[in-house]
């Protein structure tokens, strides 16, 4: 189902192209015609992070003519464990600029189109419409659903890849007869249930492995060769180095790509994923749990208040940095609930405030009268109270 224009309209290869892509040209599956298809192709990389790094680099190397990049983030030291398109000198710099520079250096003939924006329902259709294939390398559920729906509505194939710790998934969604992301997952997980890389960690090589799979699928779609992952979910287990192939069916009742779609325009994906809006965030009570700022906690400790600080992180995190709280890792809290002093006000904290919020809600449901959550976790403490506490 090549989405690329007929051979007649394809750009010619220059002498430089012939030299550069010689290893493609001598492959029967690519050849001069295939390389011309790559040159004509326009691919949008949503995200220039873990997945986007290898994806964009290999597409540029392969001779894709135009790469659109969408990213609004800035390079951080903790990115460099896996986001190899960026370098140490780029810390603090916009990822878009850093990525574009490396891609251009690799392939000066590449046409880079930067989209310095948060992809949203307001702009997604407009941005995606000018590309042939979309490679989704984003890091959150709302954008996953947004990209999926936009691809289905526009008829653009979506080379999908996602990762968690040391496991990955890859597929090709939103082709005409194939399934879409919603056929696989009609509903997102509740926020906070599936930990982020920041909370759960990720093996640095993993997005490399999965990003290359996405690049491979993108190239196959452009060239119209091989068997793309349409209707298949590839599962990667890097730890055991096992690859599994599961059948993905198009859901005839899919609200987006089914026979009678009910989603015919982009929706509010934050709401869809159950994420509270910015205005809800202003209030300092979440699901019945008061949110305490790091500064306020410090003030209350200094005032000698009778607080019980409960740290629900893992022991290795405690070793990296702690503020002297009682460590009961989140999964042990139910069994060790007797160690938490019901008479005191419990201040629950973790790294960023997510896990502690869930544990705070659990304690409240278990009958603890006074439970608060340290908003922003130990990271906020490091930012606002004591920079000597290491961030990780």
């Amino acid at each position: 189902m090549a989405t690329i224009a007929a051979t007649a309209g394809l750009p010619e290869l220059t002498a430089d192209d012939l030299a550069r892509y010689s290893r493609h040209l001598i492959l029967p599956e690519v050849g001069v015609q295939g390389q011309r298809k790559l040159k004509a192709a326009r691919v949008l990389c949503v995200g220039t992070g873990g997945l986007g790094s290898p994806l964009a680099l290999y597409l540029a190397a392969a001779g894709v003519g135009t790469l659109g990049l969408v990213d609004f983030d800035v390079v951080d030291a903790s990115n460099l464990q896996r986001q190899i398109i960026h370098s140490t000198a780029d810390i603090g710099r916009k990822k878009l600029d850093s990525a574009a520079e490396k891609l251009q250096a690799l392939n000066p003939a590449l046409n880079v189109e930067k989209h310095d924006t948060l992809l949203s329902s307001a702009n997604a259709l407009n941005i995606l419409k000018d590309y042939d294939v979309v490679a989704d390398g984003t890091d959150n559920f709302p954008t996953r659903y947004l990209v999926n729906d936009a691809c289905v509505l526009l008829g653009k194939p979506n080379a999908y890849g996602s990762i968690f710790r040391f496991e990955g998934q890859a597929s090709v969604f939103a082709t005409k007869d194939g399934p879409c992301y919603r056929c696989l997952y009609p509903e997102p997980p509740p926020p906070g249930l599936v930990p982020s890389c920041a909370e759960g960690g990720v093996l640095g090589i993993l997005p490399g492995l999965v990003g290359i799979i996405q690049a491979t699928e993108t190239i196959k779609l452009i060239l119209g060769i091989g068997e793309p992952l349409i209707g298949r979910l590839l599962l990667v287990d890097a730890l055991n180095m096992r690859f599994r192939d599961l059948k993905l069916r198009k859901n005839p009742e899919c609200p987006v790509c089914g026979a009678h779609p009910t989603v015919t325009s982009l929706i509010d994906y934050q709401q869809f994923c159950g994420i509270e809006s910015a205005s809800e965030k202003q209030s300092n009570v979440k699901n019945g749990i008061p949110q305490l700022s790091a500064r306020d906690l410090k003030r209350r400790i200094d005032a000698g208040e009778n607080l019980f600080i409960l740290d629900v992180r893992e022991p290795f995190e405690y070793q990296i940095a702690n503020i002297g709280g009682k460590l009961i890792p989140q999964n042990d809290v139910p069994q060790r609930i007797g160690e938490i002093d019901r008479d005191k006000e419990i201040v629950v904290h973790c790294k960023g405030g997510g896990r502690s919020q869930r544990i705070a809600e659990f304690l409240k449901q278990s009958g603890f009268p006074k439970v608060v959550n340290l908003a922003g976790g130990i990271l906020a403490w490091s930012d606002e109270v004591d920079p000597k506490v290491p961030k990780y």
Binding site: G49, G50, L51, D73, D76, S78, L118, T138, D139, N140, F141, P142, T143, R144, S162, I163, F164, R165, F166, E167, Q169, L184, Y185, P186, E187, P188, P189, P191, G192, L193, V194, P195, S196, C197, A198, E199, G200, V202, P207, L233, L235, R244, D245, L246, K247, L248, R249, Q270, C273, G274, I275, N331, G352, G354
Partner: protein, 99 residues
């Protein structure tokens, strides 16, 4: 038969990546799993007892939703069940904090 537990759910299954159960149908296998590991139940099923829509169960390489018998499909010792949750790496649900 073997039930493969995905990484995000392993903390609720005593850290195991695979659990052996002795059951005759997909539903019975999942029941036995959640009886042995009750914490898994709320991650796999809604309060009404339906499979949560961000979790997929595969019998070998087929999605149980699309099997004619669905959860009533019979299983043998040679079959495997895989639980495949949605993952998105990266940041948490908050678009603003993309660390």
């Amino acid at each position: 038969m073997t039930i493969f537990i995905p990484t995000p759910l392993r903390p609720f299954a005593a850290g195991k990546d695979a659990v052996e159960v002795n059951a005759l149908t997909v539903a019975a296998a999942l029941d036995e799993l959640t009886q042995t590991y009750p914490e898994l139940r709320k991650h796999l099923f809604t309060v009404e007892g339906k499979m949560r829509a961000f979790v997929n169960v595969y019998l070998n390489d087929e999605d149980v939703r699309y099997l004619p018998g669905k959860e009533a499909t019979e299983v043998s010792t040679k079959d495997t069940l895989s639980i495949i949750p949605s993952i998105a790496g990266g940041a948490g649900g908050d678009l603003q904090s993309s660390r």
